[in-house]
């Protein structure tokens, strides 16, 4: 457990503008409320977990930060600016879906997405693929990749432009242990390089020793925020066990 080395949230770099700052953000779709007045700030150089049950609003929160949806109320600032076009180059997004073309090979996929960020260098893309532990020369199409390989490639896509803020939605679900470790290690390296990482996950154990803090969401609200350590993990496990027991009872 490296939890002792963890800084408390919001203690460091308070003078510098936060990587993400949400002020009183609400979001609803056609009368369904996904987020209710969420105010949160995430510091630079931190790896934060977003935890909560399904439907708690975690994914919606990520989509709002990514700029794929607009908040019904409240404001979102990234690196001190509320103008979306300024963030786009500094933001990496890896949602649950792979965001890859199944009919293209890994390298073709990456070259296309790199071009969207103005990167035209083929070797650069090859190195990025090697960086997540895949073979850049692999001629197989992504449709035939295993889930673990696909997630690795998806990570390579999300970080190809070296973003300062990385958003991940369930990066470890259905992923083999080796790939999950590889991804976790990659996230740790990014955090150590001063990047901010936000991870929505049901498996925080994988990021044990990597994560700095955890934010707990329930029914669209932040209910708790604490350092990620052994206690937090136990609390999480008990809570999820509790909800599972509840589900079983319901059955």
């Amino acid at each position: 457990m490296t939890s002792l080395a963890v800084t408390t949230p919001q203690s460091t770099q308070q003078a510098v503008t936060a990587a993400v700052e949400l002020r009183n953000v609400s979001k609803h779709f056609d009368g369904v409320i996904a987020l209710r007045g969420v105010s949160l700030a995430f510091d630079r150089g931190q790896l934060s977990l977003l935890l909560g049950e399904n439907g708690a609003g975690k994914s919606t929160l990520l989509r709002l930060i990514a700029g794929l949806a607009t908040a019904t109320e409240g404001s979102i600032a990234l690196f001190g600016s509320t103008e979306r076009d300024k963030w786009k180059c500094r933001l990496g997004f890896m949602p649950h879906a792979s965001l890859l073309y199944d009919e293209l090979t890994g390298l073709e996929n990456l070259q296309y997405f790199a071009a969207l960020y103005g990167i035209r260098d083929r070797e650069f893309c090859q190195r990025a693929i090697a960086g997540v532990g895949l073979d850049p020369g692999l001629q197989r199409r992504v449709g035939q990749y295993s889930q673990g390989m696909r997630q690795r490639l998806s990570l390579a896509r999300a970080v190809v432009h070296d973003p300062d803020l990385l958003l991940l939605d369930e990066p470890f679900s259905n992923v083999d242990v080796a790939s999950a470790r590889e991804i976790a290690a990659h996230l740790a390296r990014m955090r150590d390089a001063g990047k901010s990482v936000l991870v929505v996950t049901h498996q925080p154990q994988v990021l044990d020793g990597v994560a700095d803090e955890a934010v707990f969401l329930e029914a669209g609200r932040v209910i708790d925020r604490r350092c990620w350590n052994l206690e937090a993990l136990r609390a999480f496990e008990e809570a999820s066990l509790g909800s599972r027991v509840k589900e079983v009872r319901r059955l």
Binding site: H28, D30, G31, G37, R221
Partner: protein
């Protein structure tokens, strides 16, 4: 906060206007069916013209209004004005479709008598039919999109519809079909042989239909605004219940008014 006095004055004004429209419409119908002399060559069939032309005029007015409101929406998208513009756009589209339908029904009835056919692919007919189709698509688009998306998507379609009309007009004129549709009898010279009694009946009906169109627009607009306000209120209570943010909810409601 609502000002009861203002509200009751609005209601009073509305009642007066509605009564005025009713009287005007009744008088117009009397003139159209009984008052005006029977036209020499076409006989009684000509009387449909007192309904046909005014509804065409109101439909045109509504579609123009829809386009303007859509433009306002597109340019002022994130301001309170946008919601008013959207309410006006949807009201105008609906009233426009209704009037256009009246026009498309009365036209062929007259044409059967005058030309011997129900329909001819002439300039005005085709353009009117196309506008009707586009605005039906507009209403369908609204129905098939979520309430958050509908205003923007339909405003976009309205811009396309507006750009389309001159091309239809031009394309059909260009095709060199000799149009059967009578040319407008006003504007070219003083009254150009229109009997003064016919002209009088026509003008009364034009005024009556315009008033009726405006009345429908007001009702539909008020309804749409009420619907918007209700959606906001439902949301505000849902938000308020959960986090006790009554102040925000109140502000939202005020903005709606």
């Amino acid at each position: 906060m609502p000002e009861p006095q203002l509200q009751s004055r609005n209601t009073k004004l509305f009642t007066v206007f509605a009564a005025f429209t009713f009287v005007l419409m009744s008088y117009g119908m009397y003139e159209a069916l009984i008052g005006a002399p029977t036209e020499r060559t076409m006989g009684a069939a000509q009387r449909i013209f007192y309904i046909h032309v005014p509804s065409a005029w109101v439909a045109g007015m509504c579609f123009g209004l829809n386009f303007l409101a859509s433009l306002v929406f597109l340019f002022r998208r994130n301001q309170p004005l946008a919601r008013r513009a959207d309410a006006l756009a949807v009201s105008a589209a609906e009233v426009g479709v209704v009037c256009c339908t009246v026009m498309l029904i009365t036209g062929p009835i007259w044409a059967r008598k005058a030309w011997g056919v129900w329909w001819a692919w002439d300039l005005r007919l085709t353009t009117a039919l196309l506008l009707w189709l586009i605005y039906l698509a507009y209403l369908m688009l609204r129905r098939f999109s979520s309430s958050g998306n509908a205003p923007l998507l339909s405003a976009v379609l309205a811009v396309f519809a507006f750009a389309d009309v001159p091309f239809v007009w031009f394309a059909i004129r260009f095709r060199d079909y000799r149009g059967n549709h009578p040319k407008p009898v006003f504007g070219n010279g003083p009254n150009q042989g229109l009997h003064p009694a016919i002209l009088k009946a026509f003008l009364i009906n034009l005024a009556a239909f315009t008033a009726f169109g405006i009345l429908l627009l007001i009702v539909r607009y008020t309804l749409e605004r009420a619907r918007q306000a209700m959606a906001d209120r439902r949301l505000a209570t849902a938000l308020g219940e959960s986090s006790g943010r009554a102040a925000v909810a109140g502000r939202e409601l005020q903005e709606v008014r």
